[in-house]
Symmetry: D2
Subunit: 335 residues, 4 copies
């Protein structure tokens, strides 16, 4: 439920009301100087007039979705997250590029240089790698994070890297701007709660069998724990089709737009698993209304230690960027 | 296998070679004046030198896909199908619009008028409706087809309507330009073989659990039976996600581009089942490289007898068309 | 809606009531001497008292499922279908065995002999084969059907063979007892309607992306067109798992038991696509409450022209039959 | 790769060989007094004769699966895990029962009493609950674990409870016998590695979009980190079918039997989400060859705080146990 206070109500009135609602057993989130959301403790039997009788309450609106703070009912305009002067979720295109795994200083420098040159905003690279098999390359760890930070600073790119458990949050938060949560951890609820305690924006990837609602409830875990800066990322679901690694579900873009105010990115690299499909699906993502894309690039894609098959080279990346800007320009004109 | 003949070989040489291959037990398709494809009778044990030893044979190329005539190995440039002066599969945008079901002369006339005004090429409407339940509206039949033909002629639009079994082919072919095969009949092999015997282009919709290869093998049924004019159409697959009616799989667009020379359309109406998602996903389809889209429109969408929830009104349709043209213009510039 | 007439109502009263309801625009099915079902023409606005006001009507019950005649609301006890003295749907185990394709008289005779010896009730074999590729073996046609009929008569087994379109119904019905509809044709509604006009029981296989409701609505097409003898068959759905050919969904057995009175078989051969999994999944089918199974056997499984990988040999088949009888005996004791 | 040593080789010879292989850069697992497995460091270019040239090596066998220690190549006989005198994975039926969430001492006592009376071996109950929404009941924590331990001791039942992150392992291991990893954490690789360091057997549930290979690779994470006692549990996957909460995939039972030596349980409660389907699917699980089942029971199922819809009452549970014993008796006779 959303409680709207009267125009005349003061900050003290609001604090009083919050306390009172908490005493009644509700978990309350402050939306703005006149709006509160009851996110927990509400059940279908609770009637609106219980609240309208309280002092300074003007009216009560229902909050029918299971996710609350992530919903458009709570916040109707898009959330814009600003990171070191770059904005995601607004009217500008936001592109994050980089290798699947951080392999060396040179590799990251080269990726950062091209990303910067073609006008991307972010640099990605994995230091802790979630691998299906315990016998595969597990990442460079802290050393990799330092390399990423340095390249990000040198080329003025925000940096993104994945954390796989709570013990990695502190160290990752020290070096990178945005913490990424991978598809396999989207419902690692313990980890989500911990992410609510940091300041860094969180890039939350959709699990490969997660519904849109599941994704938004996972975002809700982070937001309700204190961190409102969640960026959603579609990266493909599992279906019967085996030609692609996953089935990138672009329906997620307009569907999530209907449901939430959070920024939406798409990862066409993992979503397709096919180099030749990255650019077409990146274009389609922007045309569908996504705020941007995150793609895997590598100086020598065929030599990438991980995900070689879906990684594109610098020339393809530069061409793709030109295309995305043109499509994005069309979107700006029509929306 | 593809057999390429020497530059000097005559038409008679080719006829002789075809006859000889047929006597050897192979099914042969003539690709052009110098190329033949062996589509049946080949097994892994047949060696290329069996053919290179034949007169006028220059070289032999493997045909590794299970589909043959639909593959790019057999034909590398895109197939362009011309229907009453309008081309699908070339560099122009191709949009087909119309109601799910033909309900009345007025309804179809209005749809044709707007389609023509906004620059669409085709008019769709169902006369025989495949309904999951036997108790739902089953369509107007032949009377509907006449209405469709008349409106198509009046507004210079090619017409598209679905046939559900072999007995409907003759009558539908008499009235409409393009025969549509619905998702539920994509593997109705008896029907596919019959469609190989008509001249009309076939709009073949992907079954909702069909792989890309399955779709191309169904196209192969039609082509190998004599009708090369097959238009593929992605229209959504079934997944665990229930927010949308189906999961429109736009990966199909670049994937099919890699595999086949046939034209590719997308149906964002059935693919999403949600009115608000039709335009974004139509834009994304074009950005991914589709030749066009087929969408459900209705003078009064909420009153549509079938598929009301996914049908858009005329104003939304006109806006969508403007957007698609802009996106398509970008694609023409970059590809 | 179900209309129950008063105990005193006569046959003439019932005929009068049926006529009257038809004049009101409803499609009526006679369930027994006192019960009618309105299967079409009902919408949420029709109120029960419209009917209770009619002569001889005692009470009106809602029919909430979209499928009507297939539902337990219309018929609460299990449907038992008797075919040449053998019953399916009752308390006895019903096993159908035979090769995927009819290849020769000898092959079918051998299969029939072993099937008869181990106590199976039915003999299956395909004469018209639905093949994903047009270039694969398409079946022996009528000659195959004769071979099947002869073997069935000689060994006192009921016979089952697939029809792929309406033109094959007449000839198949002439030779075999049960007409099978394959997964790819489950929503070939034109064919389903034609099957409503014959006397033969129909073995209706679940489409590989069909929900339980879809399957029952397809059964409804057949029943409402006049043929109440529909046998449902679970045969696997498409999922992301690639180890098995399909994912045999045994949940269908208890789920369909809740929803319908029709007999339920399981096909563990197509459902798994793996020879070693046929017997365990056949046992599980019976333990879950299925009325029986349909399995692919062959004198020399590795030499089967089609489906070799999922076909079991005679020794494995005999062992499986012993196991199924033991499991079935347990079920009889506990249910 | 598996390295078999000569019959004459001593313990010292083996230690020497292990050291030497480690120096060569391989990760080595000792299988028995004469067998070693190389689980890491092998690539397709490594040739067998590199190893046969080493002292005391008799022969080298390939290990083609991506999972090694979980594979049958490494261990052909079934793993039997003994927990406080009860064996899982042998020839005896193993049933674990209890509520979804631990709610009170009384509730757990009652469940333990009935479980013991009907012959179950284990008691389950959640103290830390993974909930899709942050606003739902999150469990009783340590207090719940104490209640579970006490009831397990009083009624001689082994106890099972879920841990959601590494920080809960120590406390849970202190109170319960078996640590459960839920479907959402199946690919929480950081957690899996930590579980390799404890002595407790691990009940590893299949993720709802995980392939059989994914599941076995997750088991491999635990085993390769030092804990060989992994119990696999099928609990349903996500498909397009919405009648059931998940699609319980019983094919997993015979498929995993082919691939691994680890014990296999099935969870028909989560797998179906439907009370009426629990017993039929439990019977089917045993008939398919599972080592046992884990089911949700509650003194008053309709009042369960979580999962009420899929929880069965004591009477149904007792009936189900009788049925499972009968089916299991059949399996013992035939296998």
């Amino acid at each position: 439920m959303i409680i709207e206070m009267t125009p005349m109500s003061s900050e003290i009135d609001q604090s009083d009301l919050i306390r009172r609602l908490q005493e009644m057993g509700f978990q309350v989130a402050r939306l703005d100087s006149r709006k509160l959301a009851l996110v927990k403790g509400i059940d279908p039997l609770v009637r609106a007039d219980l609240f309208t009788a309280l002092p300074h309450v003007q009216r009560v609106l229902p909050l029918k979705e299971k996710f609350k703070l992530a919903s458009k009912a709570v916040r109707n305009e898009p959330t814009v997250i600003e990171i070191r002067g770059k904005k995601i979720g607004g009217r500008e295109l936001f592109v994050i590029a980089g290798p699947c795994s951080i392999e060396s200083k040179e590799q990251i420098e080269e990726c950062a240089k091209i990303a910067s040159e073609v006008g991307a905003q972010g640099l990605r690279g994995g230091a802790f790698k979630p691998r299906t098999s315990p016998y595969e390359f597990q990442g460079m760890g802290e050393e990799g994070l330092k390399i990423l930070r340095d390249a990000g600073q040198k080329y003025d790119l925000i940096t993104v890297s994945e954390v796989m458990d709570a013990s990695q949050i502190e160290i990752a938060a020290k070096y990178v701007d945005v913490l990424q949560i991978g598809a396999r951890n989207m419902q690692n609820f313990s980890l989500l709660k911990e992410l609510g305690k940091v300041q860094n924006p969180i890039l939350l990837k959709r699990g490969f069998a997660a519904t849109y609602q599941d994704l938004l409830l996972s975002a809700e875990y982070i937001i309700s724990a204190g961190n409102p800066n969640v960026i959603l990322c579609e990266r493909g679901i599992r279906t019967f089709e085996t030609y692609t690694r996953n089935t990138l579900d672009l329906n997620a873009v307009p569907a999530l737009r209907e449901l939430t105010h959070l920024p939406i990115l798409v990862d066409p690299s993992h979503g397709t698993g096919q180099r030749a499909m990255v650019a077409p699906m990146a274009r389609a993502s922007i045309a569908a209304g996504a705020d941007g894309v995150i793609v895997e690039i590598h100086p020598e894609p065929d030599k990438a230690l991980t995900d070689a098959q879906q990684t594109i080279g610098f020339e393809s990346f530069a061409k793709m960027m030109r295309e995305l800007k043109m499509i994005h320009q069309v979107l700006k004109e029509i929306c």
